[in-house]
Symmetry: D2
Amino acid sequence: MIKAGIYGATGYTGYELVTILQRHPQVEVLFATSQSFAGQLLSDVYPQAPHLPLILGEEAPLDAVDVVFLCLPHAAAAETAVTALAANVTVIDLSADFRLKDASTYTAWYDKTHPAPHLLADAVYGLTEYARDQLPDAKLVATPGCYPTSILLPLRPLLTSDLPITGPIIADSKSGTSGAGRAPKPGTHFMAVHNNFAPYKIGRSHRHLPEIEQVMHWFRADAPELIFSPHLLPVERGILSTIYVNFSKPVTLEEIRPYFTKLYANEPFICLLPEGELATLAHVTHSNKCAIGLTMAGNTLVITSAIDNLVKGAAGQAVQNMNVVFGLEEIIGLL
Amino acid sequence: MIKAGIYGATGYTGYELVTILQRHPQVEVLFATSQSFAGQLLSDVYPQAPHLPLILGEEAPLDAVDVVFLCLPHAAAAETAVTALAANVTVIDLSADFRLKDASTYTAWYDKTHPAPHLLADAVYGLTEYARDQLPDAKLVATPGCYPTSILLPLRPLLTSDLPITGPIIADSKSGTSGAGRAPKPGTHFMAVHNNFAPYKIGRSHRHLPEIEQVMHWFRADAPELIFSPHLLPVERGILSTIYVNFSKPVTLEEIRPYFTKLYANEPFICLLPEGELATLAHVTHSNKCAIGLTMAGNTLVITSAIDNLVKGAAGQAVQNMNVVFGLEEIIGLL
Amino acid sequence: MIKAGIYGATGYTGYELVTILQRHPQVEVLFATSQSFAGQLLSDVYPQAPHLPLILGEEAPLDAVDVVFLCLPHAAAAETAVTALAANVTVIDLSADFRLKDASTYTAWYDKTHPAPHLLADAVYGLTEYARDQLPDAKLVATPGCYPTSILLPLRPLLTSDLPITGPIIADSKSGTSGAGRAPKPGTHFMAVHNNFAPYKIGRSHRHLPEIEQVMHWFRADAPELIFSPHLLPVERGILSTIYVNFSKPVTLEEIRPYFTKLYANEPFICLLPEGELATLAHVTHSNKCAIGLTMAGNTLVITSAIDNLVKGAAGQAVQNMNVVFGLEEIIGLL
Amino acid sequence: MIKAGIYGATGYTGYELVTILQRHPQVEVLFATSQSFAGQLLSDVYPQAPHLPLILGEEAPLDAVDVVFLCLPHAAAAETAVTALAANVTVIDLSADFRLKDASTYTAWYDKTHPAPHLLADAVYGLTEYARDQLPDAKLVATPGCYPTSILLPLRPLLTSDLPITGPIIADSKSGTSGAGRAPKPGTHFMAVHNNFAPYKIGRSHRHLPEIEQVMHWFRADAPELIFSPHLLPVERGILSTIYVNFSKPVTLEEIRPYFTKLYANEPFICLLPEGELATLAHVTHSNKCAIGLTMAGNTLVITSAIDNLVKGAAGQAVQNMNVVFGLEEIIGLL
């Protein structure tokens, strides 16, 4: 039985993690922290949650657990990671702190000096299907961002192929509002969202852009530039990314599809849709799946890629990574 | 006082038209037809509608009106147009029947032989801001499709410029479900739409594609190919198109914006957003406006363009066209 | 042309009022105030609003207007009313400050000492259909609350009848979230509302209870007690109240209906539904109407009553009252 | 391992049942039927469903299973029940066919002659918390309706008490649209539901009324009449019933609450809320729980009662009953 602690259990990601771990037959949650609700129960915050006591992060019994999940704001996560690693506890981080390998890029996009740049090199970027070999016994895993997961999973077979991609690649992404967090803001007020649909931080201005481009370059050294347009959907959960990849000469779906099947045909959480079927949120919400549809239009491949931002885009992939780190069956607790 | 008749008043477009014309100070609606609800009142179909009697199309008193609006299925619209024109009544068609200039293209996309191909040449394609000079005293006006309106209005300044556009142009469009019509279908069932978001007919397969490309070629003879991806949004009304236009060499917003201001700065229904502001549905629902935002990302211009599909995308633009045809103030009844 | 000022134009009620007055052919809005957004334009707060400059309340040119509308928090409204009345300006208040006739009841429910108790006796409670005779030339009008409007309009024919009502009367009301105001709160966060439905302050604990019971006693001195249960609906606007009135002996719809038709058959904004039809939000949203349906069940009359909380429940009724105060046609600007 | 078959797997209830049974560690689903989709897979109908083959009901291998669940239209369910019982298979019926004990009442409300009236007496009405003693080894279980479950669970402690209840009892219920079934209809079209809220069949006209009153009389022979008002909510799942019970003399919550705690304090699926807390859909969606809140208002008890209509109101309670019938732990597969 793996003993786990959760830092930041009252955000949407933290609560989703509690929900998943509750059903996980080989994990026991020993503590959950919250700076705002310490002293209360998780069920005081979410009526359906278990009666889990919430404690302050600084009072968490690190010596009692094997692994901690960090659902904390950036910078705070890195500081907690240092403490946990010093106590020899495995860290699965769900913040942005260990996703970027370059500390100066981090500073440029996150407006903070990185609290622990010496840890960046060894942190495993946990896009599980890609990082599976680096995960066993890893001490520090960075769970990818939600948008990056939805975009990188379908780009991987293309960028690691020899197909004649010509840039830029365009990712037009649409996310449910849980991605905007639990703190009430004018932009996530019911009245502002319910009959609306709105783009934000489009082009090359969203923080997930450097993360996605970093990994695109791991896939293919000369990967093209990304244009990334996030939009806010009036639903609770789910991300659909419609991705446009141009080729410099004619390519057919028959030539493209084998690159996907080779990498993903046997992946338990990747659902390659048959020709003609497009990915939708209904394929994936409340699951750890990524659904991928492929459509050819002229010399452009149009990919539809869907995940649940709280599951495969956060808590689910974090647990998937934990399973691999600890040598458990990868799908356990996630079906 | 202009006397008007409405064919097909019980669809969403027809009902929106009734609502707009009710408030129009210079139009009187003399009849409204419905094949399914003839003998009933419009208020039997929509609880808030006026108590307008519904009659069969074949019983409509054409000799009593100056203009008819056709909110009919394709092919049926063309047949009614022939009858109305023979009675010397001006026709504002809201179907797809007179949008395409080429009858064989029509047949290829709409699975019907065109009922009145001899009328295609003289029909005015009523993208009002573009067609204003052709509209006065026109006898037959084709109201553009909803997606085409949202895409063509912002493309016009670019394609009529000398900017070095290199294709394809990508339009990633998202529409509220009123666009799918009033007939209950599995895909527009509340349960299928409410927590979902779904692409459909993406790439080069939607019927609005040939219409958009036809007009793109009017704007620029060598316009690039369009990739067009419609999606269904869980809202009632509104279309947001996110459009990607690549340039073959660096271009700045400062160079691009004047093409837009020159054409649109004084347009009453086009709202050019200031730099940094993106178009959203909240800018336009229940209005005849088109909001346009411009963002540069590398060598790619990202346009956000929003309209209300039932107003500027259908009934509102139809009335705007009628105003110009009959020499009224263009904005009357539309503010 | 009536010259009007609006205090508190940036709340939902204030914005709705601006929208209505913009279309009103006999009103000109001379100023709009906002304590939070003074110096900006209303269009900076609502993208579709007119470019109306927002000024501080204390800088409003009271001497230039005939009437002011107060969309202010309670207590602040009463203070502004005193100032406006001193300047001989008619006051249409949309807050709760002048609805209760008894200052101590006000204090008990609103946790404030009433700033102007001497004005309470002369303030007209503007449930227009009921107060029509008291409104002409009134200097101070209290616009009823949204829930009270939806409940009192259908109760009036019953309570002013001689039907053998036996208490308590139950009003089970459901409101869209615009009723909860524009300030982001955990309870009106999109995520908290969208897939939820929640009662709040049920029984005898909501502030609208004493207001409703006060007017019930005007209708019938020995009116029974009210049980009032508000609920929050995942829609933007609209209130549906399902009201249960018991009779001490058998009564038929045929006996009840004449009391409604006598009072309401010719009311422009009251829509008495035919037998068998139930009121829904779709009957009334974006209109100043109140739809009323009557159903008999044993000895209990079940009333369904629907209004738009922002229109007949606030800004629309305020304008309807202004029309009567100034001797205009009552429906002007409201159709 | 219990071997199960599901008749009617493609309706919302059938699909929910498949989802629950998939996770149930002691049940194996051997077949699933569908008259409309036989020959296809369940995943062809619901993208997230397992690849379960769908067969015609008449081809179901009854000899291979221990239990069948009937998610069929009424009358069809009774006919299948006869066949299954003849094959010595336990029947858990989710239709209305075996809920009413009186065949003539069934005919009056369901417009059909009952196909198997001889089975009515022995069918167990499976409101599990009430029927627990009758369930072990039962051959035929009628799963209660969704509204009845939400109303009867909180009424049971009251009606089996000696509290001085005086009628009528009022249940004002609001249900998500999954309760209206999977077939597209005008009333469940996205456009008709999304910004709407509508009562239907209120008073004493909904089919669940005789079912609820039948059981109320089991609880208390002289139970008062019920007034029952269902409403359609713009959410997918969940029922909230606000129930009003009058007393003929003053009663306090302190006197009432012990009747609830005595029956329900140890029930795994009943969540008695602390004083001051009201039941909401957020307490129960996607769970088998019933949340109950109690509020006193004068001499009236206002109960808020929430369930998920597809779980505790259908598939979940069916599985809960199966667990008891077969001697399994009651909560297994349901947490």
